[in-house]
């Protein structure tokens, strides 16, 4: 009897979930802003992934005689940087590290934070107190200050940047995951699963996870834009990757002195950071409103 009941519950959940996600997808595709943003992001990502095969100039090959050419120079549509390297090629190649720094910390924080948050929310009691009080400590620091402090103490480098950004994004994810889990925990279907003999791990994995992942995911996507800005900011301070590696934040830093010679070329890497950041923000907003509509 209990097995049948469990089956019914599971089937009901799965069917509802499938219908729900199809609806969300349909609403998202119907939103022109989200579609355009997704398109721009896909284009930049594809450029970053396939950069070596696009027939672009060598992003490391400089030349002293063609430094800081303006936009629209023949052969260099976006000009050249302070060492005479092709800007177009460096901007496309730069997406590799910059997107990595923007996406990996949020991905890691999403996985770790969701796990901790669901455990804290579902188990409750002392464990909840222990996890949430540690999280509170991180809220006593302005996030960007903490990231710079950790990065600064560990020393420059891409791994340290990713590590420090992951650390600052875990606490907010844990808070969101904990609060949605706490609200789901008291619902009837969780009681039903418990009554039918499911263990805590099964309940968390099957019944809780499916219902809390959506909101946490949307929250995490809203962090990507912040992470892009902070990550490039760390590189801008010289705490991320090292020259001559192409990376948007670092390029912005090394081109700073060039603003008196060729200002608009110097501003280009920032255009990339801004574009990616605003697209992720708009896409996240689109997803939020596509998922909030429930009938």
């Amino acid at each position: 009897m209990s097995a049948i009941a469990d089956d019914i519950v599971r089937v009901a959940v799965v069917e509802k979930a499938r219908g729900y996600w199809t609806d969300v997808g349909r609403r998202l595709v119907g939103d022109p802003v989200s579609v355009v943003c997704a398109g721009v992001l896909l284009l930049i990502m594809a450029g970053a992934i396939f950069a070596p095969y696009l027939g672009l100039a060598d992003p490391y090959q400089g030349s002293m005689i063609r430094r800081l050419r303006p936009l629209g120079t023949a052969g260099y549509p976006l000009g050249t940087d302070e060492l005479g390297r092709d800007m177009l090629s460096r901007l496309v190649h730069g997406g590799r590290l910059s997107l990595l720094i923007g996406l990996v910390p949020v991905g890691l924080a999403f996985v770790i934070g969701t796990t901790l948050g669901i455990i804290a929310g579902y188990v409750g009691g002392l464990l909840n107190q222990a996890i949430m009080r540690v999280v509170d400590v991180f809220y006593a620091f302005p996030a960007v200050l903490l990231a710079i402090a950790i990065s600064g103490a560990l020393g420059a480098g891409i791994v340290n940047s990713v590590l420090s950004l992951t650390i600052i994004f875990i606490p907010p994810v844990v808070r969101v995951a904990e609060s949605v889990t706490t609200s789901v925990r008291g619902l009837d279907f969780v009681d039903a699963a418990r009554a039918s003999g499911a263990g805590p791990l099964t309940i968390m994995r099957v019944h809780v996870l499916g219902n809390v992942l959506g909101p946490i995911f949307v929250y995490a996507t809203s962090l990507i834009s912040v992470c892009m800005i902070f990550g490039a900011g760390l590189s801008f301070l010289g705490l991320g990757t090292k020259p001559p590696e192409p990376e948007w934040g670092l390029m912005l830093n090394t081109l700073r002195t060039a603003i008196y010679v060729n200002p608009w070329v110097a501003a280009l890497p920032g255009v990339m950071i801004f574009t990616v950041s605003i697209c992720f923000n708009l896409l996240s907003d689109g997803m939020r409103s596509a998922m909030d509509v429930r009938d």
Binding site: L145, A149, I150, G233, F236, L237, A267, G270, I278
Partner: protein, 314 residues
């Protein structure tokens, strides 16, 4: 009210201790011997041992932490390795510049954020709303250090209207020359709080306007201005919390802006501490900034309770 303040003060003590612990551990997660930057590379093992004892690095970690907290409580955060001056002296010289800049930026950001937010919340779905939403999302997506560069390009390099770097000659004064130095960094810094405050206030006002008490007030025949006062009153605690948080972020997060504009504040100090591997200075600056942030949160909590009696009871 006094009981609530006392309770909040008691609760803040463990947070302060934890913040101190994190700042203390920063030096110990740093790779390599913390003495490397003090000792000459050819120092003998004997000298290294002597220095280690002098700095207390030979003691167990908990003892070192207790010593550090004890010294910090007595206003001693150690000595900057790079300059040889005391950390407290360095930080107190810089902190005024950061506070001034952050407060002006916060003022700009909050005034425009509140104005835009209320406008968009009231005229939801209209042209104003769409315009404001666009400004807000641009504000929160902007890499502000880049915006700073672009503003320098336009107003300093191309037009030559405003100075590009520094806080002006000599100490600070509220005269025209110093104020012109502050315009660009303050405007740059105000963009992010402006965007966030706009978004929060817009959502909040939209929510409140759709609630039943507004309908009841309308049915009662209250004028639009009086209804606005009611809505603003209900929005105040949440808005206050957001403003406090944003002001705190400006204090602590100004390092990027200060670097772009070579503004002689704590962010600039932090930047040089990182690159000279001046760990006592790094530790001290971060401790001071984090304590400011904790204090600000405490003040906001208490103000919130003063405005909204429901908070005290919970």
């Amino acid at each position: 009210m006094l009981a609530y303040v006392a309770k909040r003060l008691v609760l803040v003590a463990p947070v302060v201790l934890a913040v101190a612990l994190v700042c203390f551990l920063l030096v110990h997660i740093a790779p390599g011997d913390p003495l490397v930057s003090v000792l000459p590379p050819d120092a003998s093992a004997e000298l290294a041992e002597q220095m280690r004892r002098a700095y207390g690095f030979d003691r167990p970690l908990p003892v070192q932490f207790a010593m550090w907290v004890w010294n910090a409580l007595h206003g001693n955060l150690g000595t900057s390795i790079a300059t040889g001056r005391s950390v407290v002296e360095e930080v107190s010289r810089a902190v005024g510049n950061t506070l001034r800049l952050a407060c002006v930026a916060a003022f700009l950001g909050f005034v425009f954020g509140l104005l835009f937010g209320f406008l968009a919340g009231y005229f939801r779905g209209g042209v104003i709303d769409r315009l404001v939403t666009t400004i807000a999302i641009t504000g929160v997506s902007m890499p502000h250090y880049w915006l700073g560069m672009v503003l320098v390009i336009i107003f300093s390099v191309q037009l030559g209207w405003l100075p590009a770097v520094g806080a002006g000659p000599g100490g600070w004064a509220w005269d025209w020359e110093h104020v012109t130095h502050m315009i660009l960094p303050a405007v740059t810094m105000s963009v992010i709080p402006m965007g966030l405050v706009t978004r929060t206030v817009r959502a909040l006002v939209g929510d409140l306007l759709s609630q039943e008490f507004v309908l009841a007030l309308r049915a009662k025949g209250l004028s639009k201005v009086r209804i606005f006062v009611h809505v603003a009153k209900n929005a105040a605690p949440t808005i206050l919390a957001v403003l406090g948080l944003q002001l705190g972020y400006l204090f602590g997060g100004s390092i990027l802006i200060e670097t772009v504009f070579s503004w002689p504040g704590t962010g600039f100090l932090l930047n040089s501490a990182i690159f000279q591997r001046d760990l006592p200075l790094l530790q001290g600056t971060i401790l001071v900034l984090a304590l400011f942030f904790v204090l600000l949160n405490l003040v906001v909590d208490i103000l919130q309770a003063a405005i909204d009696p429901r908070i005290k009871r919970s």
